[in-house]
Symmetry: C2
Subunit: 378 residues, 2 copies
């Protein structure tokens, strides 16, 4: 069966990039690789819109989140966790793991955090060393206002803003330096359109002060060691050379395209699908929806898991279902990855067909027509 | 320039395996990937010669070592570290990081540990919860006697044998279950002949008792969570899907070949090169040399780093130099990875030529002749 991958990660990869990664392996300590690594780090700064150091580690995105807690804090520290989805919960779990006390700001799933609430929490708990947030919460499709959070946290010398941008960086505008984002985590398998296996983390000047004092135990994920390695144009431990070479190739494409065009592309796919959702008589799950993914409520009487299953098993199309208490309630389509407008047409047509097959009537072509119209006229 | 990779990792990868990894990405939570992951785990057990669970994590080998400390021990515990090279030192550093007190057995670099010394250390410190060792110390090319260590440690209910087998597993015989190896770490970029980015760790029944009580903080590397994920045929965090698919391909080849033939192949390459070393009038660095790599002393007056550089920059051949205090003193050639007898002929010829070029006289063909004769007659 011809297969299509449109889940919020892992994502489809450009076959050209796959073939570049299939070229003979080079040694991670060779001058040839150092040169590639240095260029990749510079090009990453372009996407991150930062002058900060960026480290590339062999791990999934969660490894980068783990590193961001253990490298910045000490047991007994206090931190604010913004929890509006599965990945917000992950920040709190990570803090607990390292003995960091958390002040949790629980946000309704599907809603963005109100910056005022964070300001209040920081005033009530001025000893909080960090605010942990998702730029984009992949489980709900919500964008948190990291620009506003940056303004709030930047005023405080003793607090960092630590951002999980795994499904946001490279998807839409995130001005790391201008907005004061101190630690920003991304991963290879989202907008960077690569297979999973790399996490990338930027560290601000302010954050280095914390890293130098942090007492959480860390060895494999150690920014101080990575900084020393960076000075020698290498990584602390064996680099995932093939993935980094692939990242270099994707970044070349991003630079050729320009950030504005890259972000406009994702917005365009997102708006077309969201327009189609309305035309099919369906509803978005999030009230504060992002352009990274579209999260659609399963219609009354339909199990979202079944929609995902029909698409995957009968049509060869992989989208994602809901996580945690959203299991069965929603299904999720990605707008990042190696995807075109026509892939979105496929996704919409497949949803029309699957819903009818499962007993929920949707006029064939109703969503597709709206998307075509959007693409043609915008 | 046509390039050859013969370093002790990363290693050359079969182009067929590279192309299998270049096939379209599949989702890590799909039934299609679960099936692959389950088969890969079973096939890994064949190479590990074990019934124990094996976890596959997205990280370099050091990540697997980190996991083996944090998942088995608690701050304040005591452990024996066998230190006969750079990677032995890494065990001790990891223990220090997690607040584990170490009893260090310092072994002359180039020598295997004497099992009697470990027995004595355990008698003197019966409260040691673990013995940490390298099956093969990649920095010196030495094989430690893990079988004998297994016998010693197996008698003690409250001590584990934790083995870094990163450059040993799949290279030569390591009977995980029969020898009582409790936690065994390997990595993708050594004998498994893949790009870097995966660590694999087996955990014995005895080790699970420790994992359930261990208090070191751990989140990304968490065997208890991985065990739960395994029951659902998945990994705790996003799997490095492409590398795991590549691993499946390599394991298919290993199974078709059989372990005896696989090990014999490495032994054959090793013996040919070691015979050539003697014929060239050179010396091996290690007194207890392994068949995994050959570590050659740079002849008097020759900087080993220059040998590596001439091979890489002028001939297109990557071997490795010495690490830490062996820098400049030795150079290292791998016998694992996607390598044939003819690659060893290239390596020997290149060394003959480079040494002459650098001013150390070696008769052209002296090493090659010895290797040819070995290959022809054994």
């Amino acid at each position: 069966m011809k297969r299509y991958l449109m889940a919020p990660g892992p994502v489809a990869v450009d076959p050209h990039v796959m073939l570049v990664m299939a070229e003979p392996v080079i040694h991670h300590r060779s001058p040839q690789f150092s040169e590639i690594l240095t260029r990749v780090r510079e090009d990453l700064k372009y996407v991150y819109q930062t002058k900060n150091d960026i480290f590339i580690m062999a791990s999934s995105g969660t490894g980068g989140m783990d590193a961001s807690v253990s490298n910045m804090l000490s047991p007994g520290d206090k931190a604010i966790c913004i929890i509006g989805g599965k990945f917000g919960e992950r920040w709190a779990e990570l803090c607990q793991t390292y003995g960091v006390e958390t002040v949790n700001i629980d946000v309704e799933w599907g809603r963005a955090v109100d910056p005022g609430q964070v300001e209040d929490a920081l005033s009530a708990h001025p000893d909080c060393k960090a605010v942990f947030v998702q730029a984009h919460e992949t489980s709900t499709g919500v964008k948190h206002p990291v620009k506003e959070l940056g303004e709030i946290v930047a005023k405080r010398d003793n607090t960092l803003l630590i951002v999980d941008a795994i499904s946001a960086m490279g998807v839409y505008d995130l001005k790391t330096d201008e907005w004061g984002l101190d630690v920003v985590v991304s991963g290879s398998q989202k907008s960077f359109s690569l297979p999973p296996g790399l996490s990338m983390v930027s560290v601000s000047e302010k954050a280095w002060r914390f890293a130098e004092q942090a007492k959480c135990p860390r060895y494999y994920f150690n920014f101080l060691k990575e900084r020393k390695a960076l000075a020698k144009k290498t990584t602390a431990y064996t680099s995932a050379v093939s993935l980094i070479i692939g990242l270099g190739e994707v970044l070349k494409q991003f630079k050729a395209m320009g950030l504005d065009a890259l972000f406009a592309h994702h917005r365009r796919l997102s708006e077309a699908v969201k327009t189609a959702v309305a035309s099919m008589g369906l509803e978005l799950f999030p009230k504060d929806a992002s352009e990274a993914i579209t999260v659609i409520k399963a219609p009354e009487g339909i199990d979202g898991t079944e929609v995902v299953k029909v698409l995957r098993e009968e049509y060869g199309i992989t989208i994602a279902g809901g996580q945690a208490h959203l299991k069965g309630k929603v299904f999720r389509i990605s707008h990042y990855g190696y995807l075109s407008e026509w892939d979105m047409i496929i996704a919409i047509a497949a949803i029309e067909r699957a819903l009818n097959q499962l007993g929920h009537k949707v006029a064939f072509g109703s969503g597709v027509a709206a998307a075509e119209e959007y693409f043609a006229n915008s």
